[in-house]
Subunit: 442 residues, 2 copies
């Protein structure tokens, strides 16, 4: 029988993730001790209400409402409560006491990561956060360590399971956004207030974390361009599908370096975009997540898996806990977060991509010519024009007076495309610009 | 200007990978120094022939044929020569001198990993090997660290680009094995002697490395069950495709624990298998690699990317080099390889899966009944029977006397299936058992 030293671990939060972390620590104590070389002693779980029902159950003697005291007795603190406060205060206290911290809190890191990482570095503690992005999918460690000798040029992620479920459902069975959202809510994929998911706030936080890590730079969350999926209609998804694309909410972080245009920095953005069906990201179905990484040497990589869920997120938390524990046992370094690059955050107008524009136009001669001229006037090259299958209210044929026009462009500057769209809206023959979506991965 | 300390790095091997590693170290010296906190000083590149042409070029003053002297002056040794000797001798010397080692050498690790890891642990040095499996795809670190608090139950990998290219080609354009192999050779995906790839030796080495890491146990390479793809005909691929499957050469490592049958251990095996088209591995095209991991908490994960290539493998080597360098700068632990589990290696007869069996049978009444009886006699439940599209020499219809019969089974024990096949071959009405392939991921 090997005698191990003990590591004192405090758990903050007893929700689904916390309950799964506690269960695994208890059920797999011996196996974890063998892997770490120390016994991991769960000294307590701080919760708001010790009487609440939990699944899986947490032994009652571990529950406490006194997080502060719990933290002060711990070697390692795991924070899975979510939200900014009191998580920020607790993590700060834990780091100041010299404890290492494992967190799954994307909102906190996206908003206050710089301050927390600086504090950790100052006191010589470590802050682990694999669970904060894309649940159980290992993406933080690969970006931080595996690609540390390479240069990442671009990241495209499906990092929000709720919106991927909704868009996939709309694509698969022709549901409307509202119908698909209702199913997502019923299945527990969407919250009662779905704003954080469908309007892209959650994805923007994850994009900021990934971009900071990939480009070794500090990312200001307020500079992340963000568009949600409320404006994506079933019609647009059907038109995209017909053209060989899936529509996905993408979190994109891109290194842009184009001296001719004075562009040198990082673009971080979240928006629904068209992806070719042949692209690996197009095959990410349901509530799954995936992160597609392009690097100079490594080429294209993809990391795929469940983006959320109690056991899945707990798996990522426990991986970090083992890393933190090994550090306590053997000593030595942890993350070495370095934000030495200090790159500029670029506005979305700095990007270049191709576009899928849907217009409602008068069904009369000469319309196409005038529409085409607007594109040409702004140096946006048109690759493809198609009469749409449907209008918003039914088939074009049945209406007689308007038709749907779908235009695919070659790569163009976002600023040129924006000017094009503004001028299209002014054309008398254009009833409305129904949809403008970017095409990525083509 | 920051003054960094220097780390002395020796590179063994000046082939495609070595030349790419050297190029990156030279071109990105400043960026790497900022990431590591030390200047990485490439002190020399040991090669067999200093006059050979290299792409990209390596500065002549760095080249040497004296590997032994180079090693003794290094803090970190990178081995990208491949092969067992002299790589084994050099790595042993490097570790004994106290240097950390980064290697891309799967053959060496699969055959002598236990001895080399033990030496590294004894002397307190580290042995990094992300590049040894699946090129640039980060899979070692996720298995070792990210999933360290979880239990991996199964790994299925497409880890050999050459065979995936050949099978994909046969699937896509109906090439025969020989035609597809010829194209692979022409494009540089296959070696002049393709044995290591097409007979599964390369995949078996990678399977052994992955299994050892995932299950914390020592894997004996000679216990890895291995079948190559020479026996996979165009006909079988067409039949599989018609039934909704792709044929892939899979490296599988599986934890089997079935007390009722006295089965408790690890099965490591390489064989061509059918994968449902809807499975993420089925979408891995061309010479790409992917590793699909199932774990208790994390659920299903997939890691995808280029499996080989100079810049890609160099990217993985450099990631390890940065890790090793950070360890030198900050001090502390590295890998903590632990093989504490000590699980039994199980023979392939211990597995349970479903099967796709193709028979050439007499085209006469009663054949199906006698074939079905053989399956039933061995408790193998038949899910599906189809008359095949083709026989080996042409359509069944044109031959008149024999027909192709395709049988899909439910999950069955490999030992029962083997007995079934043996008895099928004895049936007078069965001309031949054309193909027996396992179905995975269904």
């Amino acid at each position: 029988m090997i005698e191990y030293r003990s590591l004192r671990v405090a758990l903050l939060g007893g929700g689904t993730v916390g309950a799964n972390v506690a269960r695994r620590l208890i059920d797999h104590a011996d196996e974890l001790a063998a892997r770490v070389g120390a016994h991991i002693d769960l000294i307590g779980v701080a919760v708001r209400d010790v009487k609440a029902t939990r699944s899986p159950a947490i032994p009652a003697h571990l529950l406490t409402t006194d997080a502060e005291s719990l933290i002060l007795g711990a070697d390692i603190v795991i924070e899975v409560m979510g939200g900014i406060e009191p998580a920020r205060t607790y993590i700060t206290a834990a780091l100041q006491s010299g404890a290492d911290v494992v967190t799954a809190n994307k909102a906190l890191l996206a908003n206050h990561g710089t301050e927390l990482f600086a504090l950790a570095e100052r006191v010589g503690a470590q802050l682990y956060y694999e669970a904060a992005v894309a649940g159980a999918i290992p993406i933080i460690r690969p970006l931080r360590d595996s690609l540390a000798g390479d240069n990442v040029t671009r990241i495209m992620g499906i990092v929000n399971g709720t919106t991927n479920f909704i868009l996939d459902r709309m694509d698969t069975d022709g549901s409307t956004f509202d119908e698909a959202l209702a199913v997502a809510t019923e299945l527990g994929y969407a919250e009662a207030d779905p704003t954080a998911d469908v309007d892209g706030f959650d994805a923007a936080q994850k994009a900021a974390i990934l971009a900071g890590l990939a480009f070794h730079t500090t990312i200001d969350l307020s500079s992340v361009h963000r568009e949600g999926i409320r404006g994506v209609s079933g019609e647009v998804i059907a038109l995209a599908s017909k053209a060989g694309y899936a529509v996905k909410l993408l979190a994109i972080a891109e290194r842009l370096d184009n001296p001719a245009d004075g562009i040198d920095g990082v673009s971080v953005r979240v928006y629904p975009a068209l992806i070719p069906r042949t692209h690996p990201l197009a095959a990410v179905r349901g509530a799954n997540n995936a992160v597609f990484v392009e690097a100079e040497g490594a080429g294209s990589l993809m990391f795929y898996g469940a983006g959320a869920g109690g056991p899945e997120t707990a798996s990522a938390v426990l991986g970090d806990l083992v890393s933190a524990s090994r550090r306590h046992v053997i000593g030595g370094p942890g993350l070495a977060e370095s934000t030495h690059a200090n790159l500029a955050m670029l506005p979305v107008s700095a990007i270049t991509t191709s576009y899928h524009v849907t217009l409602e136009v008068a069904d009369e001669p000469g319309v196409l010519a005038s529409v085409a001229k607007v594109f040409a006037d702004h140096s946006v090259s048109v690759e493809l024009v198609e009469q749409g299958l449907f209008t918003s209210e039914g088939s074009a044929a049945s209406k007689g007076q308007t038709a749907t026009l779908v235009i695919g462009t070659h790569r163009a500057k976002e600023s040129d495309l924006a000017a094009t769209v503004a001028d299209l809206a002014k054309l008398k023959a254009v009833t409305s610009v129904t949809s403008v979506l970017r095409i990525e991965g083509a």
